[in-house]
Symmetry: C2
């Protein structure tokens, strides 16, 4: 059991705000500023260069990786932190292609994948210049397209627009039956749904930590390599901290043991400090509990909104087993409606062309928040509050 | 003129410490914890997702890049922040190879380059699999080896062990005369020596911000692309924030305008906040002043140590025009001697096999510090204080 009333008090949530955008950027853990201050003053300030050893900065990427491993069903020692998710996608895909059947040239993805994953794949394919093809099908068609000509699948488990959840177990099993190597993007999975990387024998996985894990804006990414592969993969991004002996300053690269070789440059110590505060809250729960509660919250929101706002079209699967921890509705004036909502304290976000997106995070969202958000959404819709010039001009948001 | 007594007060320097390792990790700017606290509480905490626009997070990599551009003689709008230096080396080298004469296959570097640069080049060469060769010569031989068969030079301006400084003007001019594209690593240049990227027509440059710039452990890196190339380069690491319209979520990559295409993933907002505090101190000076003062400090240290410690062999060029902002001495028991020094409050560092390395940073090191450090070093050497079991076991340090 998790005391969600207690976890809610661990976050700073501005007065009058119902924050349904934790699927984009999680809120500030209340302990994070004090921890950051300690790391800055007591570690950086006092220890200076000796912090790499004395404060354990050098081991931080693996130590934090292990805390995340527990949340994604990964083996201890199989996850390491660093860089951004886009870089980790590149690293995982390059390594996966190295392990793939030699004469296969197709990287299979779907149109529900986050665009940056597709962009990074494009860049890698162009660099490699070996005739690789990025084949992008609809999410519904992905399973049928896992065939004997596929080298690697590059799939985001939860669709960032609709919240549709792929069946990682089934897709991974089918991929392996066809000799396909799998790369899973867990951006909307980590801290949102229950995934068991080890049990389903996933090959590679990557994810970010600023969404459901609440690590802060631009928090570092993670990469998972199945232990059966970890000593075989050849890093494309072969940086010194992935070297077997970084401080020997040898002239040639020798990959470090296991997941350590997926490290690249100097670790982002300050950013990892903020993330560690966020992970302290995660220590109080487990993903089975989170998943069950998330399904309740999303079901409640769907039920409330469909009853109150018949003009909104549900874009998220109705079956709770088939969705992540977000709910999306289509509405042609969705951008303006979301601005009207935000002005009234309900923060979700918008994804082109017409998706209003709401994230549900059991650590700090409760039934009352869900019902109140639906009431305010009803007010916006019933009274066409979105039809206001202030809400029409689009700005960039993530 | 710069008031160096005033800039010294802007840093936290622990009592009893003379910090001569700012070439590895700069000290904490006193204002940085408060700024970080504001960014965490007032921006992340209060603005949440809207911070990307309202707090200017999205524009931060270019805004901070411009502040660094001034310190390296680069054009406004030619520098952008993100990732680690190793990633930026990969990105610059991949783009440089794209611009290079097609049938040339040699990447020229030298043995004084930081190993991670060589490792990243190795990884890229292996991925590309197009017959590229990494040719590593001695620093003394680099100029003679810039010939018509070289595609790209990948050179660190200041040798991380000896402090030897390459003549960027002369080498770049020779490279261009032979149709060679240049990639400069400014890790020990930015904030240390006076470099004029625009004036010497450098093609690409990369650097880190945790050394002389004092951005904090794991602070983000920067990349420079000459404006004449910036709209032509094709990014190998084609992430969404380098896309021309990141928030259109198109399925295919289109590079953004100019240097923006060198962005990859979500920017490290918290780490950049710490760096911005450090750059506030840099606003009070200019690199010509810093360079002149640095040459005085290093000359004083060489004079003091050579007079006091005849058993130490100078590894750094005696001519101030040929060295960066560090001084290195060779000593066969250098590791133990450095530990003995650190135990007595003089923090430098050691690089295998026998280099004792000292960085000099005018912003917070003065003549008194230099003389006192030399006195303590003399005590360590005269009394063989290094010959102590506590100082013999090596630990990893950066």
């Amino acid at each position: 059991m998790t005391d969600f009333a207690a976890t809610k008090t661990r976050f700073h949530l501005p007065d009058g705000v119902i924050y349904l955008d934790g699927n984009s950027l999680g809120p500030l853990p209340k302990d994070a500023p004090a921890r950051m201050d300690r790391v800055m003053r007591d570690e950086w300030g006092e220890l200076l260069i000796t912090g790499w050893n004395k404060a354990g900065w050098m081991a931080q990427p693996a130590r934090v990786g292990d805390r995340i491993a527990r949340l994604i069903g990964a083996e201890p020692g199989s996850v390491v932190m660093g860089d951004t998710l886009s870089i980790k996608v590149y690293q995982a895909l390059a390594s996966a292609l190295d392990l793939a059947v030699t004469d296969r040239k197709v990287i299979l993805s779907d149109s529900g994948n986050f665009p940056s994953d597709l962009y990074m794949a494009e860049g890698l394919i162009r660099s490699l210049d070996r005739g690789y093809e990025l084949r992008v099908v609809t999410p519904e068609d992905i399973e049928a397209n896992i065939t004997d000509d596929i080298a690697v699948t590059l799939i985001t488990e939860v669709d960032y627009r609709t919240g549709r959840l792929h069946d990682m177990n089934r897709l991974t099993a089918k991929a392996h039956a066809h000799g396909v190597v799998t790369v899973w993007d867990l951006a909307h999975t980590a801290g949102a749904t229950q995934v068991e990387l080890a049990a389903c024998q996933a090959d590679f996985a990557v994810g970010c930590t600023y969404k459901y894990l609440n690590g802060g804006p631009g928090a570092p990414a993670f990469i998972y390599v199945a232990p059966r592969h970890a000593d075989r993969v050849r890093p494309a991004l072969s940086g010194w901290l992935g070297h077997d002996a970084p401080f020997a300053f040898e002239q040639s690269y020798r990959p470090g043991a296991g997941i350590e070789r997926m490290r690249v440059g100097t670790p982002p110590v300050l950013a990892l400090a903020a993330l560690e505060s966020a992970l302290d809250v995660w220590d109080e729960t487990d993903m089975a509990t989170i998943r069950a509660r998330s399904q309740q919250l999303t079901a409640l929101f769907i039920e409330q909104v469909e009853r109150r706002c018949p003009m909104l079209e549900l874009a998220t699967p109705r079956d709770p087993r088939e969705r992540g921890s977000q709910v999306s509705f289509r509405f042609e004036n969705g951008y303006a409606a979301m601005q009207a909502l935000i002005a009234r304290g309900v923060i979700g976000d918008f994804r082109a062309p017409d998706i209003m997106r709401f994230g549900f995070t059991p650590l700090y969202i409760d039934d009352q928040d869900v019902i109140r958000a639906a009431e305010i959404l009803q007010d916006v819709m019933d009274n066409k509050l979105w039809d206001h010039p202030d809400y029409m001009t689009r700005q960039a948001v993530t």
